[in-house]
Amino acid sequence: MLLKPTYTTDELITRCKAGERKAHELLYKQFASKMLGVCMRYAVDKMEAEDMLQNGFVKVFEKLSDYRGDGAFEGWVRRIMVHSAIAYYRKHHKAMQVIDVADMSNEPSVNPAAFANMGAQDLMMIIQQLAPGYRMVFNLYAIEGYSHKEIGEIVGITEGASKSQLSRARTILKDMVLKMEDKKYGYAG
């Protein structure tokens, strides 16, 4: 019975540290799809996300010797991907465009049931339509779980700016979700 040798993540890390080229590829393949899913939330499209993924994995392999095994490896890789996405964003979108949204006194009310039924692809499409600045802050706060202080340090904005951008991002997203519910699922808000 011929079986391809399977390695645990720790074994792959050890082999990568020893400079085994095949181990690099196996480690990449183990996390590539999931990490591209992360990068997609920060990018406009898949192409941009793949650039972020590429830069991120090069960094992962470069810094692999620094990884001491404390904490989950996936979380460590994910943090590098997020930082790679922000670095890419800073490089290619020098001015963080923050489009002022018209003051929405009437915040759109999303139908929770319809919203919960929406697929990840739809939500991804909505997020990618956000202005880069809003997308960045929303991702970091709502999904990555960073505090406003941390976001301010990572993105290079004030804590207050992070808060206001998150608020505006949510409003825009809710509006977009509402429109999609109406259009795709026939729900009305």
Binding site: E50, F57, P112, F115, G119, L123, M124, I143
Partner: protein, 256 residues
């Protein structure tokens, strides 16, 4: 809908969200890692090769320096050449007799160096010429020192007073004749000591200025005839030490 609930929906939907990247991404990563690895492995070798080349070229330069040191000693100084040529011609004959004659060549060197380093200094020239006159005047004196040996031989010749021996005498005479002709050359034996006395002032004048001090220090280290750097050492009140010669092995500059 609360903000937390709203965020939570996004969070849960994206939790297992995966997208298959195109194979091109790994190729690019692999290429980038390969470039960095080769750079990392090549760089040490490049630096080693560079140091070898530097040391090798430096070695060649120094080798050339050593070779060139001999040549310029003959060709550079016209004054020394003349003196060395004239004196050894006569010296060749008496070499058999006196090692002291070689001292003359040394004194000759020093005379030459005097002329080179102090062309404008009339005093030194006078002092040098003075012994030359002395040597001519001393012609009767020197035969006294050397001739006794010869005279003993001459004295031995007439003693036998036989014709057979007379035949041998001329041989001695023949030998003596050139010795006597050499006598004026041998005068410098006296002159050599005189010259040595004269060269002492040369040493004295070694340091008159900062340039002279540098010259002395350089001479201690650099034994070549053309020092790596030479300065003027004048007594002038100008006291400016100008560079008169530079010898970097391949590059030589010398003011006359």
């Amino acid at each position: 809908m609360l903000d937390k609930e709203f965020d939570g929906v996004f969070n849960s939907k994206f939790e297992d969200f995966e997208v298959e990247p195109s194979p091109m991404v790994w190729d690019n990563i692999d290429a980038e890692l390969g470039d960095k690895k080769t750079k990392g492995t090549i760089m040490p070798w490049l630096s080693i090769a560079a140091t070898i080349i530097v040391l090798f070229t430096a070695g060649i330069l120094f080798m050339k320096k050593d070779r060139t040191v001999d040549k310029p000693a003959k060709s550079d100084k016209l004054a020394t050449n003349h003196l060395k040529q004239t004196i050894p011609v006569r010296i060749d004959e008496p070499v058999k007799k006196d090692d002291k004659v070689t001292v003359i060549t040394k004194s000759g060197d020093k005379i030459a160096s005097n002329k080179n380093y102090q062309p404008k200094n009339s005093l030194s020239i006078n002092t040098i010429t003075a012994p030359v006159v002395h040597t001519k005047d001393n012609t009767p004196v020197q035969p006294q020192t050397i001739n006794p040996d010869n005279k003993q031989l001459i004295a031995a010749v007439p003693d036998p007073a036989s014709t057979h021996i007379i035949a041998t005498v001329p041989d001695n005479d023949v030998k003596l004749a050139p010795v006597q002709t050499n006598a004026p050359v041998e005068r410098p034996i006296v002159m050599a000591s005189a010259d040595n006395q004269e060269t002492a002032p040369v040493k004295k004048r070694g340091i008159h200025s900062f340039g002279g001090l540098i010259n002395v220090l350089v001479a201690k280290i650099d034994k070549r005839p053309d020092k790596i750097i030479e300065f003027t050492d004048s007594d002038d009140d100008d006291a400016e030490s100008n560079i008169t010669g530079v010898n970097l092995g391949l590059v030589k500059i010398k003011k006359q």
